[in-house]
Structure formats: structure tokens, C-alpha cells
Symmetry: C2
Subunit: 422 residues, 2 copies
């Protein structure tokens, strides 16, 4: 049995950020408010702008001009997998328990390693376009049953292509941002005129999203078996949804105001390199997908997911959903191949999210809409409280991680609190 | 009768770019390939980076750092209407027939005035998000009749709110860009499986779009009576659409690949200042819109619109549609007020398009879908050709202008040719 890689920084087995992970984020500190790139290691952030400035990344084929002294990861993301791999290897080397370079230099450690508690995490990417898929068969089926009945639950196209729509990139916010309850038109009673006011059916959607590294040209589809070359890494996504606004507005062009007030993402981008050991075979597909979506050896990732809720009067959060990324029907490779097959180009920083990740059991549904079955089965929280949908001051927190042998490769969390409408 | 303003540059009465217009664009030349901002004046482009560098815009409250020596208009657009008005007044002064400053300096003219024929126009804006409305009642009704029958033509929400969806910002291209015919899944026969291949039902959509100048904060809706403070100006938009891909994919989340391969815009942004003389009362609305959309004195603009088509074998283009921006049911102020009422923020450079602008008569329909009534009434072109939808190598050109007294305030054109699928 080979020795597990180990850092000189203590990282316990449940921490999301061991040396096997090294996710990228953008942060600032009170002492130095300039946004810059770092990687998470245990309870620390390694300041890559500092590491780069000190020429400790030579040999990684980075360009001359700074890549990490930036307010977004786009410059690094554009460089592609061969460079990403070299930087990852070098960072693992730098942080290794065996390597004295950083370990034995108190000066360097003070300059480069910042306690996570002293950092403020920022949106890690300048997001070009944001696309949201609808790739969980369980979710699409549940929603279909609720709105169209059991016999027409899945639309005829659903098993043939990964359904998706364009979301709003400009309202993607980083974890920790409070969200104002949206106002809008709703029509709770079809026999009466629509009304205006704060959404009464606020919901979350548990999702994961991936970011495009090197882009693609207009008219040049990305083949499914080369899709991963364009994918930098993944984050947790909470696609906040106002169900009552959605119901009234979405015909015939899809969700708009019901979704565009905010989408929250976790601050650390976990790379595909870090996820590699957690590959599992993709879900079997029937009917066989068309050739442009077909990849016999396609994979997905075993990523455990959890959603918790905490009301203003609750002493601690309660877990209300346990799901897994591997439940998804369409893979990230298929999603990207489909997205570009029309000739649609990709730009570095584009974000593609999975859609709600629901599993087969009732406690694995990734939205309150499903968990409470449209409000008909309220969930019980602590302190005698129950919820059909999100109440003001409720906090929703999503977490995700891959379980290794004695370590975790985790995403940290995406959290947000709903504030009352103004 | 007051004297019409006149430039020392000759501009005939049908030219789109007299001194009354002064639209903004981004261009480069072979001699100087650096993208920079200019305004159109007759057959010339006034190079604003040069004008600014020579300090000929002092007194306009521009910041110290360059605003026009940029590859996009965003920096200028962010400054807001008071500055835009000052710059406009100063440029009208500089270009005036009465003013010797530029008129009598051959040196300055050579440096600052570039023949339009020597310029290459670029995408004028770094577009954040692109939203597409659906604001023509005639268009929504026509499409509704074709797909759902006469009795359910308009969806119940349509008269209550300006329906819209998120488009793809990253595939917006400037006029003149050729467009590769998209491939994708279609299902022409519901009794057989879907198939894959080039779209057979390629269409255009005649639209106008507007750009956001100063943005707005999350959770802070833009009131309808202050919406125009956020609007910089407008362009022509061709929202290319693959009708067969759309029909198969769009349920339940809206159009995706059918639209995201390309959207073309005209290169010159016509400002609201230039459009002011062409304000006309907005269309009467019934039912009365909700208070957040209500503006008793709301206006729109009298902008004549034209679409022409030219096949590979045709000696000249043929006009196939004549419409007008004033036909739209929902105004740009209502669109922006609705878009932000959920708390959705706006960023400088966001683009909001009108949706297909169809008028009341059959020759005013803004798409082939409507003009040929789903292909059932092919349109007759020259040289004995006819079309149901767009054929390979067809060129579609859209033009728009306001007709003044002896002059035009025009948008120029947005043109694009469909290339065969690869």
C-alpha cells in the first residue's frame, strides 16, 4: 500500500481541504484587501499571488505576466489541463510534509499561508454565461408528476437530450451573501386576476456547476470524448427559485424572474484532477443516446451532497436532504457536447450547472418543492417548527464531498439566508 | 422655423448618420488595428480616442483616465446621462458647420475623421447578460395561433407582464459575421424517433435591443418612471432561430440551442438623446398594467424597420418585411422595470432585446415563420426563387431609421449570411 500524500499542515480526516484537494478560490484579507487567487489547505489559504511573485512556480509553464495576482481565476483557467496539472503537482510538492522549502521557513509561511478565518472569499470567476441544465431524471419526474400527472411526467424530449436553459450570470453571488426575497407577479387562483407581492413559495435547488477553462469557437462543437479538456472544475450551486412567480411567468419561454434575482455558489473550485479518484461509471441510459452524446466509457463522480436548513429560532441547522452527484442521468461531458453541438461557442469562465440533484428516495430530493411535495407534506424542523417553503431569515447550507480512504475531497459549503422583501 | 443643425461634413437626406444622430461604435482600421470608440457622421467615423487624447472634450466631466481609447463602450456607458448629454453637445459643436475648430484644420481632420470605408466595425459593448423579450402582441398572437390554435393564441400571462427569457451573451456577434447553419436534434414526425442534422427551418427575428448604462443593485428594482436613466441606446438585433430545433427542445424550459448559436447586432448604438424627437405615445394597454409597470405618459419611438433577403443567385436583395418599433405592446421602460422587480440587478453592458417586432399587416411580420405562415405560403423572391425558410448563402439584412424633416436618424444595418452546416 502506497503512502498517502501528507502535508506539513495538519488536516483532519473530515476537513474538506487536504493536500489531495487544493481547490482554487479568490480571497482578500483585512490587512490586504486586494483580491487574489489562493488554494485551500486545511484551515489555511495558500496565497498564490505571493507564491508566484516569489518565483516558486517556475517550471509550471505559466506566462510571464501574473496569473494569480488577479481578481478572478479566468487567466489561469484559460491555460488548460497540462498547465493545471503542473501547477497542482508543484503545489502538492510545496505543501508536502517531506519538503522543507515552505515547511521550514517561518518567514515564507507567514507571507504565503493565511489562516482561513482571516480571509473573505469572493466570487472566484468572471462568469461569462451561465447555463442551467435539468439533468436529474428523478427531479424532472417529480416535477412532472406534480404539474402534469404521472402519465406525462417526463417530456418526450427528456431522455433524448439534456434539457437546459440560459440563466443570469450577473446575479451569481458567492456563498455567504444574503438574499432578498423577490417580489413579482403570481396567480395563486386562476379564476382571479394575478397579484403582486413577495414570493410566498421560496425554494432552493441543490446543484453542482462546472466552469469552462479553454473556450471553443463558434460553429465548432466540442466532441463528447474531449469535453473534459474544457472543464476546469466544479462548485456547489444553490439555484434559488420562487415557485409561485415561476408558475405564472414560465410559459412559453421558461423561468425568468423566478430565478434571476440570485444564484449562490461555493467559493472553492474543486478541480477535475482532485475529483479523478472518485470517478464512477455514469448511469445507464435508455434509449441509447445519439452518437454526438454517446460515450461508452463515460463517467461521473461520487460526490455526497447534503442540504441543511436553519430558522431564526433554531439553535442548530437540520439536515433536510442527502443526495449524490452520481444520481444524475446526463453527465458533464454530455452536457457540454450538447451545448456546443449547435455551434454555440464557449468562453473561459462560462458556468454550466446540473439542475436540481434529486435521488431515488424521498429524503434525497434536492428542493423543497419535492421534499414537501408542493407543500402538502411539511418538513419537521427542531423547536417544533415546520416548513413548506423557505421562511424569512431561514439559512440554507449545502455541502458536498468525496469520501476517500481516511480523507475527504470537499467543496466546503454554499450558504445563504433569505431576508424579508423590502 | 429654427435652422436645422448642420455639419461641415456633407450628409445627404437619406444617410443614417447626420449630426442629429451621432451613434457610438467601436472600430479599427488596417493602419491602426487597435479597437477604439468612434461616432458615425455621414460617411466618416470621428475617432473619439483621438479627440479625447487631444483634450477636445474637456468640460464634459469625463474622468482623467481614457474613456474612448477602449475596445468597448462600457466605460463611457457607465457614466450616465448628464455626461452623455455633455459629450453629445460638444461633438455636435465640434462637427458643426459654424465651428472652425475641426472644419478648418486639415491636420486634425486627417487624424480624427476616418472614411467609414476604411474602418472595420467591432462588437461595441462587452455584453454582460442578454435578455430577450417577447413584446409584440402581433408576433405572440401569430405564433400562438400556429402552435395552439386561435382560441388559446395568447398565453394567460401575456397581457399582464412582458414575457422574456435569458439569451446567450457570448454568441452575440456584430453585423457582417457569417453564421454557420446549426445542427441539432429535431423531431419532424412525432411517430418516429428524433433525428440529428442541420436545421432545415432557419429563420430570422427582427428585433431592437437596448443597452444598460448605469447598472442597478441586487434587491433594488428600477422604477418604471426612472428606467430610461439606465438606458444608453439601441441597436438592431437579428435573433437567428432554428425553428425545428426549437420545437423539439423548448419544453418546459424555453429555447436553448435553437437560439444560442448566434445573435447579430448592428454596430452603431443610437442614443436615447438622438431618438428623443421621435417619441410617440405608447400603445394603449388593456388590462391596465399593475402599478409597477404603469406609467400614464409612457412613450415609444417611431422607428421604421425593414428586412431584406438576398439569395446567392439574386442580383439584388428583396425587401420582405416592413415593420415599426412603435407596434410593440410593452415599452422599454416597462421591460426594464419588470426585469428588475424581482430584485435582479443590472450591469453596465447588459442587453435587453424586444423580441420579434411584427405589425398588424401580413407584410409587417418580423420572421419567416409568420411571413410564410409556417412555410405554407412561401415568399416570392427575384429570379423565380421562393423561400419557406432561409437557404444556405442567403443574406438577411435589417435596417431601421427615424424619419425627420429632411434627415434620418438611422441605425445603419445588421446583416449576416447563413453558411452551410459543416
Amino acid at each position: 500500500m502506497s503512502q498517502k500524500p501528507k502535508s506539513f499542515i495538519e488536516v483532519d480526516s473530515e476537513n474538506h481541504f487536504p493536500i489531495q484537494n487544493l481547490p482554487y478560490g479568490v480571497f482578500r484579507t483585512v490587512k490586504n484587501p486586494k483580491p487574489r487567487v489562493g488554494v485551500a489547505i486545511g484551515d489555511f489559504v495558500l496565497d498564490l499571488s505571493e507564491v508566484e511573485r516569489r518565483r516558486m512556480l517556475s517550471g509550471c509553464d505559466l506566462p510571464q505576466s501574473p496569473v494569480f495576482d488577479k481578481s478572478a481565476l479566468n487567466t489561469f483557467m484559460k491555460l488548460g489541463r497540462p498547465v493545471w496539472r503542473k501547477v497542482r503537482r508543484r503545489l502538492q510538492e510545496l505543501l508536502s510534509a517531506e519538503n522543507p522549502e515552505l515547511r521550514d521557513s517561518d518567514g515564507l509561511k507567514t507571507e504565503c499561508l493565511i489562516p482561513m478565518a482571516e480571509t473573505v472569499m469572493l466570487l472566484p470567476v468572471e462568469i461569462g454565461d451561465y447555463t442551467d441544465f435539468y439533468s436529474s431524471k428523478e427531479h424532472a419526474t417529480n416535477v412532472g408528476i406534480m404539474f402534469r400527472g404521472k402519465d406525462n411526467a417526463l417530456m418526450p424530449n427528456w431522455l433524448h437530450l439534456p434539457v437546459a436553459y440560459h440563466g443570469r450570470a450577473g446575479s451569481v453571488v458567492v456563498s455567504g451573501t444574503d438574499i432578498r426575497r423577490p417580489k413579482g407577479q403570481t396567480r395563486p387562483d386562476d379564476s382571479r386576476p394575478p397579484r403582486f407581492g413577495p414570493s410566498r413559495l421560496m425554494d432552493f435547488e441543490l446543484e453542482l456547476g462546472f466552469f469552462i477553462g479553454p473556450g471553443s469557437e463558434p460553429g465548432e462543437p466540442v466532441p463528447v470524448d474531449r469535453a473534459d479538456e474544457h472543464i476546469f472544475g466544479m462548485v456547489l450551486v444553490n439555484d434559488w427559485s420562487a415557485r409561485d412567480i415561476q408558475k405564472w411567468e414560465y410559459q412559453p419561454l421558461g423561468p425568468f424572474l423566478a430565478k434571476n434575482f440570485a444564484t449562490s455558489i461555493s467559493p472553492w473550485i474543486v478541480t477535475l484532477e482532485a475529483l479523478e479518484p472518485f470517478r464512477v461509471p455514469a448511469v445507464a441510459q435508455d434509449p441509447e443516446p445519439m452518437p454526438y452524446l454517446s460515450r461508452p466509457d463515460d463517467w461521473t463522480y461520487d460526490i455526497q451532497l447534503q442540504v441543511s436548513m436553519q430558522g431564526a429560532n433554531m439553535v442548530r441547522e437540520k439536515i433536510i436532504c442527502r443526495s449524490n452527484f452520481r444520481y444524475l442521468y446526463w453527465t458533464i461531458n454530455q452536457q457540454l457536447a450538447h451545448h456546443t453541438v449547435s455551434g454555440c461557442n464557449m468562453r473561459t469562465g462560462d458556468m454550466l450547472a446540473s439542475g436540481t440533484i434529486s435521488g431515488p428516495t424521498e429524503d434525497s430530493y434536492g428542493s423543497l418543492l419535492e421534499l414537501t411535495w408542493r407543500g402538502s407534506k411539511p418538513i419537521q424542523l427542531a423547536e417544533g417548527e415546520e416548513r413548506k417553503f423557505i421562511a424569512d431569515y431561514d439559512r440554507i447550507t449545502m455541502r458536498g464531498w468525496c469520501e476517500g480512504d481516511g480523507y475527504r475531497v470537499g467543496f466546503g459549503e454554499v450558504t445563504g439566508k433569505i431576508l424579508p422583501a423590502e
